[in-house]
Amino acid sequence: MTTLDAPPTVEGAGLVGRSVARPDVPPKLDGSFEFSNDLSVPGMVFGATVRSPVARGVLRSVDTAPALAMPGVLAAFTVDDVPGDRWIGHIVRDQPVLADGEVRHHGEPIAFVVATSQAQAWRAADAVVVDIEPLEPVTDPEVALAEGAPALHPDGNVYRRLELRRGDLTERAPVEVHGTWETGRQDQAFLGPESALAVPDADGGVTVHAATQDLHLDREQVAAALGLPEELVRVRLAGVGGAFGGREDVTCQAHLAMAARALGRPVKTTYRRDESFLAHPQRHPSRYRYTIGADADGTLRYVRARVVLDGGAYASTSGPVLGSACYFAAGPYRVPAVEVVGEAVRTNNPVAGAMRGFGAVQACFGIESTLDLLAAELLIDPVELRRRNALRPGDVFPTSGQPFDATVDVVGLLDRCLALPLPDPDEVPMPAEGDPYAFPGGTGRTSTGEGVRRGVGVALGIKNHLYGSGMAEWSLASVRISAAGAVVRTAATEVGQGLTSALVQVAGDALGGMPVRVATADSEAGYAGSSSASRQTWMASGAVLSACRRAVEELALVVARRHAVDPADVGLADGRVVVAGRPLELADALGPEVVDAGGRYDAPRTHPGDPTTGQGDVHVSWMAVAHRAVVDVDTELGVAKVVQVATAQDVGRAVNPREVRGQITGGISQGVGLALTEHLDAPGGLVANGSFTDYLIPTAADMPEVVADVVEPGDPQGPLGLRGAGEPPSLSSTAAVAAALRAATGRPVTRVPARPQDLIAP
């Protein structure tokens, strides 16, 4: 193959950095976009899942005969029908495909029934007779850790224990504060319930059309459960109705693939909302016990934290979530000595796993709340305390000892956040004035106006983007250029965040403005990793850029040959191919020929961390954010209204400013939800509020005004200078609201979501 001395000249189209239109929006507006539960193929039949009604028990028998006797019922599957591995899982294979001998959480799948209609499948699932001898569930992680606790699984009760140690841990500071903090079980509550379609293939394999975050993780687990080589399992992305971490784990995919192969027919299922609450892992409930030592002027001397995460019945992502929960437990602060000891624990509660912020949300609530205690103890302004201790260029990260990225200006973010305007009017409104939603309690006029107090709180958030911790991390993409334009193929998943549109921008610029279409993500396009950890725009952009560069070189060679010019005289500009100074339409330049090129991006390497102290370069780099919340609380009723959230967020570079803003407002809405209403309650391990009637996410009437300053210093490592943008809005918005609630009420607010009884003034 001929090669070029220098890459061809490509004039970018100026797409990156502009709020260009998203290609997926028109079909989403007119309803023609196909979500996973809209898929339909001839001969399709429907599945339904039989779930455990108890949190823990011995599964004595499963009688599917009554279901099979019903009209239209085609098959019923139990663990004995699983052709391959009985155990699957995101990282650790500790979760039965269908319950095997013991059930460990409410809603655990026990059997899968297939019928000719979805309604009949649900009725048949109800007819399956399950005999379970209930056992006493263990629902408190500290009880599960205690000596003599029953082993809840052959793997034991501890998913991971992590110890981080740095500096001289023997000294005592003149001032010490202690705080204990708890966070609730937040559900991702994506609006489109779990749904997928599995179609048997002629080669004995199966294609699963799934709404998922990671096609290859799904493929790996489905192939294992089916006992098939991975090449025979294809996973294609079906339209995703929101994810936020809740689609990282396999739910129905393996059941459907197993049924489709056994029956030789396409099988689809859609979960009901109550089922969705039982089916995917939620954010880990946490308990943090802090001791912070400081000098009298507020200079931090040490941070000690003991972290317990309730991992629920199966491992899911508990291991890495614990990593995040511990590494961010000292926030973005300069601390000479740190000791964090964390455990993620198995219980009989709902499975916990990934949700936006991935352990760092809990850590942020803990460290920021404890810092406010210190500020109160020292009579120092909480903002000043943060400014004094924030990481600066030349510092090392407090928990890992890794040199901190000097382009992340933590103090600058704090100052820019505080410089944003306060709400107008800057006082508590009276209920009679204008907007009924401006007042705690809303249109119900619950509050009479007396006892309403305003509070303001500030918090800083920090988290890594990308996986880190020594994981090899890469992404593949390919580009095909023909007369009609370019088609980008990757397995990176669009989950609503706007990835498709970002890749159109990135490829459009790299290909001199030629028309670009992004094909539906498919496992056959090569590994891309998950849309999680605020990583996918970074990773997929890196791969697409690499593929585009190669495609341009190849295109120059092809065009040069066809037009008998030197390859050095071929360039791209304004959506045209410039051949020896003459702009030609793509079709004229390329004729019937097609150019194919693949690309790969490898993330900067990280270190797994020292096994005893956790020290090392465990993160690629960091995303930092500042939040300021203003709340009004009726301190007699304990009813709160978040009036405004201000934020300064470092996004490195905004690929699409409008979509970055959408991540900010959406992430803050989830942060506000965790602060005030969102907790999936599971007394005795049994989910009690699995519906949108009882699990309350913010509505349009609940959302505060958001004022944002998006900071773009450029990341030195990220492709195009971008950093992750998805998680930071959720990192510290909750902590800022909690601080504002404390300021308004004088109450300690030691747990989120804060309940009315936590907000009644003394």
Binding site: K28, L29, G241, R658, A700
Partner: protein, 162 residues
């Protein structure tokens, strides 16, 4: 037992087939009208909003068999070009699952405001859309787009052809 229920959907006659217990949402989707989405089937999320003989309803709460002869309007039948443009420009759509329901609710309140001859304020829009959950956007782009379109429609003089 399946009953046949004749309706029109956005002006086109459609023969729905429904059991007594089926909701209008389910019957519409079974008939391939998947532009109506179901996020909860309990009347809580608003994704299934349609206009039934001109009235905004949660189609998951309406039994299909009572809809015989009804005129059903869904997002593609109601969405004005101005609202589509404003939704896209303002970032009102991310995953899009809530979108068809929000379009129906928004066009319903926009029509009411136009009839009453005024433009909607942000609090009015927030109240009107409080029954439509969106988990992705934080509602900012949605509310801004509806307010903007309402102002524009209110300033158009009827009969001016603008």
């Amino acid at each position: 037992m399946l009953e046949e229920v004749a309706v029109t959907v956005d002006g086109t006659p459609v023969a729905l087939e429904a059991e007594l217990t089926d909701s209008l949402l389910r019957a519409l989707r079974d008939a391939g009208r998947t532009q109506v989405t179901g996020g909860c089937e309990q009347g809580e999320c608003g994704s299934c909003s349609v206009q039934l003989d001109g009235v905004l309803v949660a189609s998951c709460l309406v039994p299909a068999v009572v809809c015989s002869g009804a005129e059903v309007r869904t997002a593609p039948g109601l969405l004005g070009d101005d609202l589509a443009e404003a939704f896209a420009r303002r970032g009102a759509v991310q995953c899009g699952f809530c979108t068809p329901g929000i379009v129906v609710a928004a066009e319903s309140v926009l029509a009411r405001a136009k009839d009453e001859g005024h433009a909607l304020t942000p609090p009015e829009v927030r109240e009107a859309l409080a029954g439509n959950l969106c988990r992705c956007t934080g509602y900012e782009g949605i509310v801004a787009a509806v307010v903007e379109v309402s102002e524009r429609r209110a300033s158009v003089v009827p009969g001016s052809g603008a």
